[in-house]
């Protein structure tokens, strides 16, 4: 315990508060102490200590989760993995690498800059790869390159009793035993603490082009997405933004002299990756034909790299732009994901509900995955009955989603915010099976208690 004294732990109120708050509307529920380990061995030592004293333990990356994942409802230790931020090894010839859990995704790609390879998962936030693995992160590139479930080849995990295991490996496939990698990816810190992540990399595309297309109707935009996919076009990013989102977007960026306001109408932001300009042009032409057939117009290309980066940075700022619609705005972030054939009706009915209930609820998302976010905005000045309407809209959205055969959370995870929906979605027997796994790996219930499902008393 002596090593944990100088600079490697903190009980300063501001530091505690920071470690209990993520990017969501869920308030800060701070830990009792924050520890700053420097290695897997350190993490193991803390886990053993917490195991012996039955103290809750929650890993912390950079705090960009969206469902209160890092709240400490039972107090305990926040394990800040920020010092585990180095690349362990790079294997460009095999297109994989191994990074410590506290390394951010932008740091991983900076380290890979001369290899011609990249780690493709892009959730918007510059999250740590450990956090991304724990939450099964996804984002704008999933439609072509998959999510963390596809990107993680293996992990180093510290278990609840401090023992350290390695899952997966460098072979591209293996049938040697249960796939523990897939178990820990998305486990949100409830089964073990990830300290290293082996990542599958992809060649940086040789030719890239982005385009925007406008539609008069949200339905038409969704139909265009469906058509692009059914044509078999390997679109790299396929994002839908509704009119309120673009209005929020324009307002948010209006003080930037370089910003050109977007047309306030349902839009698609698309990106294509190709081996050559010729291949790219073929795919893009087909996709745009599909858009126009569905009622799309005013197709504009963002050709150079700087313009493309601005487009995607802008797309990723839509959460903040939406919250900015109200002074000190906060938001319930919905994360419905449905089969693509059901996307049009679910989005249409959600938009109609938002309008009818007169709440602030811009809609945008990864239409190519059937995943969209309705950002339900409020602030502390809103009367209780506005908040009630907001929660009703969210509840009906989830009902609608589950009825369509979808999931209440496509990518953001359960945290504490979505626990009640997991039972509805997975059923009692399903949740019991998860609880059995949880009990086997964390019999004392110290690993991020109160997340994914309720902690036993």
């Amino acid at each position: 315990a002596a090593e944990w004294r100088r600079g490697r732990r903190s009980t300063t109120p501001d530091v505690l508060a920071r470690h209990g708050k993520d990017e969501s509307y869920h308030p800060s529920v701070p830990p009792d102490v924050v520890a700053f380990p420097k290695s897997t061995a350190d993490v193991s030592a803390v886990a053993r200590l917490c195991h012996d004293r039955r103290v809750p333990l929650v890993p912390f990356g950079v705090g960009t989760s969206l469902e209160g994942h890092i709240q400490h409802p039972y107090g305990g230790v926040s394990l800040d993995l920020g010092s585990l931020d180095q690349m362990v090894s790079e294997f460009p010839d095999d297109m994989d690498c191994r990074a410590q859990a506290g390394m951010t995704r932008s740091a991983v790609n900076a380290a890979l800059r001369h290899t011609g390879l990249e780690f493709t998962v892009d959730p918007g936030a510059d999250a740590t790869v450990g956090g991304m693995a724990a939450c099964g992160a996804s984002g704008t590139t999933a439609v072509r390159y998959g999510t963390m479930r596809d990107a993680v080849l293996g992990l180093t995990v510290v278990l609840a009793d401090g023992s350290v295991i390695e899952t997966g490996g460098r072979a591209r496939k293996s049938s040697a035993g249960y796939d523990l990698t897939k178990l820990f990816v998305g486990s949100e810190g409830t089964l073990g603490i990830i300290t290293e992540v082996a990542l599958r990399l992809h060649p940086q595309p040789t030719a890239v082009a982005a385009a925007t297309a406008r539609f008069d109707d949200l339905d038409d935009a969704v139909a265009a997405v469906h058509a692009i996919l059914l044509h078999g076009i390997p679109v790299a990013r396929c994002e839908l933004l509704d009119a309120p989102t673009l209005a929020a977007f324009n307002a948010y960026n209006k003080n930037d002299p370089a910003f050109r306001p977007q047309e306030v109408t349902p839009s698609l932001f698309l990106e294509f990756h190709g081996l050559s300009d010729a291949v790219l042009k073929e795919e893009a032409d087909l996709a745009l034909e599909a858009c126009v057939d569905a009622g799309g117009r005013d197709v504009a290309w963002a050709s150079d790299e700087a313009e493309r980066h601005k487009l995607w940075a802008a797309r990723h700022s839509t959460y903040y732009a939406s919250c900015a619609l109200k002074r000190d705005g906060k938001a319930i972030v919905t994360d419905a994901c449905v089969p693509i054939s059901k996307l049009a009706e679910v989005v249409r009915d959600t938009a109609a509900d938002v309008e009818k209930m007169d709440v602030v609820g811009p809609i945008f998302g990864h239409a190519g995955d059937g995943n969209f976010h309705c950002i339900l905005v409020y602030n502390d000045d809103d009367p209780p009955e506005y908040l009630e309407r907001l929660h009703d809209v969210s509840a009906r959205l989830i009902d609608r989603t589950l009825a369509a055969g979808g999931t209440c959370t496509g990518e953001h995870g359960v945290g504490s915010g979505k626990k009640k929906y997991v039972l509805r979605e997975r059923g009692a027997a399903g949740v019991a099976a998860m609880a059995a796994v949880k009990h086997a790996l964390d019999p004392q219930g110290i690993m991020n208690p109160g997340k994914v499902f309720d902690a036993p008393s």
């Binding site: 600079g7 900076a110 380290a111 001369h114 011609g116 390879l117 940086q204 595309p205 040789t206």
Partner: protein, 256 residues
């Protein structure tokens, strides 16, 4: 211009947490990730842009260091350089080989290649001397513009205009070619090569020379006698009164 020569140095990667060797003789290099010096990446990028603009016909990259410096040269070739020259030496390039020796070796390469322009990074992130470019210019008797944030070569290739970043502000200088330019951060944002260019670079010409054969005295005039990490940050101390605080600021921290 016919030819641009770009100097690139292989250094400890900027993101690596640097460790001091057990005997405190230097930074631990074994099992440490090495990369092209960031200011050298900017220099390479500028040279390639000159070629793309049609202001230069050929870009040659040169690096002085051990066998692994050839990997750094292949990165430069992947970014778009046409040819590379490796000046081989096993003398430690972070502290064993002095900037003067490096400048003298580069002088020999310049004599061999007769470039119209030499671009290097303003400094390396290991030595941080920032003296190689000025010394090389002096040895060659050429004009120099260091800390370049903008470079414009005249259409006739006879002169260049450089915007320099200095501690006192930005200065614009005009200089005749041939000249030595050192690249600063704001000059450009380097491109990173895609796989097809990395594969193509493996076939581009790379010539190896021995530093010992070039008639330069490689013995150091600056000798590193020891390297130590900064002291661990001590825990803070809570003081009981303002008088206590003033006393510590005066007598311990010596800041008032």
């Amino acid at each position: 211009m016919r030819k641009v020569l770009v100097g690139v140095k292989r250094v400890v990667d900027y993101a690596v947490r640097v460790r001091v060797s057990a005997d405190k003789s230097g930074v631990e290099l074994a099992n440490t990730k090495m990369s092209m010096n960031p200011f050298c990446e900017i220099a390479v990028e500028e040279a390639i842009r000159l070629k793309e603009k049609g202001a230069a016909e050929e870009v040659v990259a040169v690096s002085i260091g051990p066998k692994q410096a050839q990997e750094t040269l292949r990165s430069a070739l992947a970014m778009g350089c046409d040819r590379a020259i490796h000046v081989q030496t096993d003398i430690r390039s972070d502290q064993g080989l002095n900037p003067l020796a490096i400048a003298q070796l580069l002088e020999k390469v310049v004599e061999k290649e007769s470039p119209d322009l030499v671009i290097v990074g303003k400094q390396s992130i290991d030595g941080d001397h920032a003296t190689t470019a000025p010394m090389l210019a002096e040895l060659l008797g050429w004009s120099q513009a260091t800390f370049a944030a903008r470079l414009d070569v005249a259409a006739d290739g006879a002169s260049a205009e450089v915007e320099r970043e200095t501690d006192a502000g930005t200065e614009v200088v005009k200089l005749p070619l041939p000249a030595v330019i050192s690249a600063d951060l704001r000059l450009n944002t380097p491109r990173y090569p895609k796989l097809p260019n990395i594969m193509k670079a493996k076939k581009k010409p790379l010539e190896a020379l021995e530093a010992a054969d070039l008639g330069v005295d490689l013995a150091p005039t600056l000798v590193v006698t020891g390297v130590a990490p900064p002291p661990d940050r001590a825990a803070g101390v809570t003081v009981e009164s303002v008088d206590d605080l003033v006393d510590k600021l005066k007598n311990e921290a010596a800041v008032i």
